[in-house]
């Protein structure tokens, strides 16, 4: 990194400050993007380590390694860390790095707020992780163990970790909302004059819609956890049946946030994939406009399907049927997207560099996760599969081979632009193949476990589930260790390698490829003139 910094000083009269203060005080969108990405990578390994504790315990039936309560802390914290620490910050990191460059803006609209959005997160995670870490050293009752969904009355029985968890969630929510406001302001107000809305790359479109989702639902989560907080400490009875409240209401409020939340984690992934596939198929994205509309429809539908997470709480039959059908409707716009990706590849002059491999793998494996989601949407089927490993398999297919694979694909795709060097293609391919094989060994058997009735979030299981659990655990360790290759690739690529050209990929289109690699510290200080050759989707220009 110091090499690139020095290099930039030569070219520009106002490059970054040096030393640690550069990172603490920076308002530069590329610096902040890097901070987000590095933090997300760190949390990816923290959350991964927790997953490995879970899989190690589940390697054999019986209780071997950890106490059941600690196991519950692991399932809870694994989810919170991966969702709020790894996936969401990683996507915000991509947005920071790429959105201003993709729309021809000099920086984010609100650079100072941008600095705050990031620096809140490490503090929030200190709060979130502190009770767990202290618990490991025998101080206090350990971390939260009620599951990341924090359902009362169980979550209200959390020990000292309760207030820490709630305040961490509040801080993360504030950070996300600030980040979302910034992204919307950048996209709506900072575009180069020639960058009309329907010329925007799909990654920008998906982030615009995601940012609106964040603003709409993060405050609802904040409201829900605030009610938990007052129930616990101030004698309110929002969720206590004894006081006239209803614990089921928490589930309604939580999932009103929770379902859009899963799209917050997947829509930007759709955007990344929609950038990568055209580049390596050397064809413009098929159905650009329909992609925009499909994304918007998915976002809209996400607000009216929440109760499919709670079919078994006892709802009127009419409501169950409504939520079932509304949920299935989401398959239509999602199907449009998958169709468009496949059609973009159809008869394309395809090459299979590492980012493209990850993207294709995303399309296939995400679709599997989508189909198992459709199965879970069927009410009578869900009664059988609810809270089993089938659900675990489903959401890991959409979140690991979906969101995380897209993040990794995007990292390989843009890292030459970030560092100025080509990554090690051979190592990248090893990383890809090992990950793809192991991730299926890890999660595919969990479908069978779920169908056979193994419940989730339980540290022990009956011996009939032993084989599939052992296979799954082997896959988990293989997948986890494979990710060290990613660190090696990034490390190498930051330090040097083959010089990357400005365009990097032969078929790449979009403004980010018109600036040199590595991207200078300041780009597009005057808005660029844009012609069709620079735009990602010239086929859809409305003239």
């Amino acid at each position: 990194m110091s090499e690139t910094t020095a290099h930039m000083h030569d070219d520009h009269d106002h490059g970054p400050a040096s030393g640690i203060m550069r990172w603490i005080t920076t308002t530069n969108h590329k610096d902040i993007g890097t901070l987000y990405l590095v933090f997300a990578l760190l949390m990816f390994f923290v959350g991964g380590l927790m997953a490995l504790v879970i899989r190690a315990e589940l390697f054999m039936p019986g209780l071997q390694l950890v106490e059941p309560d600690f196991f519950n802390q692991m399932t809870t914290m694994h989810a919170l860390v991966m969702i709020f620490g790894a996936v969401m910050p990683a996507f915000v990191g991509f947005a920071n790095w790429m959105v201003p460059m993709m729309v021809g803006a000099p920086d984010m609209a609100l650079p100072r707020m941008n600095n705050w959005s990031f620096w809140i997160i490490p503090f929030a995670f200190t709060m979130l992780l502190l009770p767990l870490v202290l618990g490991i050293f025998g101080i206090g009752g350990g971390g939260p163990a009620s599951g990341w969904t924090l359902y009362p009355p169980l979550s209200l029985q959390t020990g000292d970790a309760f207030a820490f968890t709630i305040f961490a969630v509040h801080m993360l929510g504030i950070s996300s909302i600030m980040g979302a406001i910034n992204i919307i302001a950048t996209i709506l107000n900072m575009r180069a004059p020639d960058m009309t809305l329907l010329r925007m790359p799909l990654f920008v479109w998906t982030w615009l819609i995601t940012a609106f989702l964040l603003i709409a639902v993060m405050p609802v989560l904040a409201g829900a956890v605030t009610m938990l907080l007052t129930d616990r400490f101030f004698g309110t009875t929002f969720f206590s049946a004894a006081g006239g409240g209803d614990p089921v209401m928490f589930q309604h409020i939580f999932w009103f946030f929770g379902h859009p939340e899963v799209y917050i984690m997947i829509l930007p992934a759709f955007g990344i994939i929609s950038e990568i596939i055209p580049t390596f198929a050397r064809k413009p994205l098929f159905g650009y406009t329909s992609m925009v509309y499909a994304t918007a429809s998915i976002a809209f539908l996400s607000f009216i399907v929440w109760a499919h997470h709670m079919f078994t709480v006892g709802m009127p039959l009419g409501a169950e049927i409504y939520f079932m059908l509304a949920t299935m409707m989401i398959a239509v716009p999602t199907g449009v997207k998958v169709f468009n990706w496949v059609t973009t590849m159809w008869k394309g002059a395809m090459t299979f560099e590492t980012p493209m491999l990850w993207a294709i793998s995303f399309v296939v494996l995400f679709t599997i996760g989508g189909f198992s989601g459709l199965m879970l949407a069927i009410v009578p089927v869900d009664f059988q599969y609810h809270d089993t490993y089938f659900v675990v398999a489903h959401f890991h297919y959409v979140l690991v081979t979906g969101a995380v694979f897209a993040l990794i694909a995007g990292m390989y795709y843009w890292i030459p632009k970030w560092t100025g060097y080509m990554y090690n293609e051979k190592l990248g391919k090893w990383h890809f193949w090992l990950s793809t094989i192991f991730v299926n060994i890890l999660f595919f058997p969990q479908h069978y476990l779920g169908l056979a009735g193994m419940p989730r979030r339980i540290p022990d299981y009956s011996v009939q589930f032993a084989e599939f659990n052992m296979i799954s655990s082997i896959g988990a360790f293989g997948f986890g260790i494979s990710q060290l290759l990613m660190v090696a690739v990034i490390w190498q690529c930051v330090r040097g390698g083959k010089k990357a050209s400005a365009r990097v990929w032969e078929g790449a289109r979009g403004l980010e490829w018109t600036v040199p690699s590595p991207a200078p510290y300041h780009t597009f200080e005057t808005p660029p003139a844009i012609d069709d050759s620079m735009v990602a989707h010239p086929d859809d220009l409305a003239h």
């Binding site: 406001i181 603003i215 405050p219 004698g235 309604h252």
Partner: protein
């Protein structure tokens, strides 16, 4: 420079709007509380449809149709009581005032007050369920080791939809209301 100011103004306007939206959505989270109550009142969810009345004021005649009532009892773990229905099931005629009994016993060595909340399934049935007297209307104080018979008087309205043939009346006893059942010891 004026274009920069214009830009800043545009940003400010947008930010104000977006902050307003997020504050509004924070409020919406809380608005779910009254909305949920309205929903329950309309659908009869959570036993909300059950009416409390003088026997005479609501009886609309009896019919020959019968419905089976199942009685269910639960005690919150913070309350050291035994609590069960005297009879698990009974069959009643629609419109006919009936009476069922629950038995409660304080197994601890201190006097404890508890109060019961109830629910009716299927939820729709609660709209046709009328109570004229119930131990759940007031707080119940049991001395140490004291046992008590707790009656409930009720009838089911004659216009109960034909598809409902079984109704479950369920009670859960909590420790007195100053302690909303939240301070459970793990």
């Amino acid at each position: 420079m004026s274009s920069l100011n214009q830009q800043q103004q545009k940003n400010r306007k947008l930010i104000r709007l977006l902050v307003l939206v997020s504050v509004g959505m924070f409020g919406f989270g809380f608005a779910m509380w009254p909305l949920y109550n309205v929903f329950c009142d309309i659908t009869g969810f959570g036993g909300r449809g059950v009416q409390v009345a003088q026997a005479s004021s609501l009886v609309t005649g009896t019919s020959d149709r019968e419905v089976r009532i199942t009685f269910d009892a639960t005690v919150n773990s913070a309350l050291p009581w035994d609590f069960k229905p005297a009879e698990r099931q009974m069959t009643v005629r629609l419109g006919e005032l009936s009476n069922a009994k629950y038995l409660a016993l304080n197994t601890s060595n201190e006097a404890i007050a508890g109060h019961a909340i109830y629910n009716v399934t299927p939820p729709e049935a609660s709209l046709y369920f009328v109570k004229t007297e119930c131990f759940c209307f007031t707080e119940q104080l049991l001395q140490q080791g004291e046992a008590r018979e707790m009656p409930v008087y009720f009838f089911v309205k004659t216009d109960l939809p034909a598809n409902i043939t079984d109704i479950t009346l369920s009670y859960t006893f909590f420790r007195d209301s100053s302690d909303a059942g939240l301070t459970l010891t793990p």
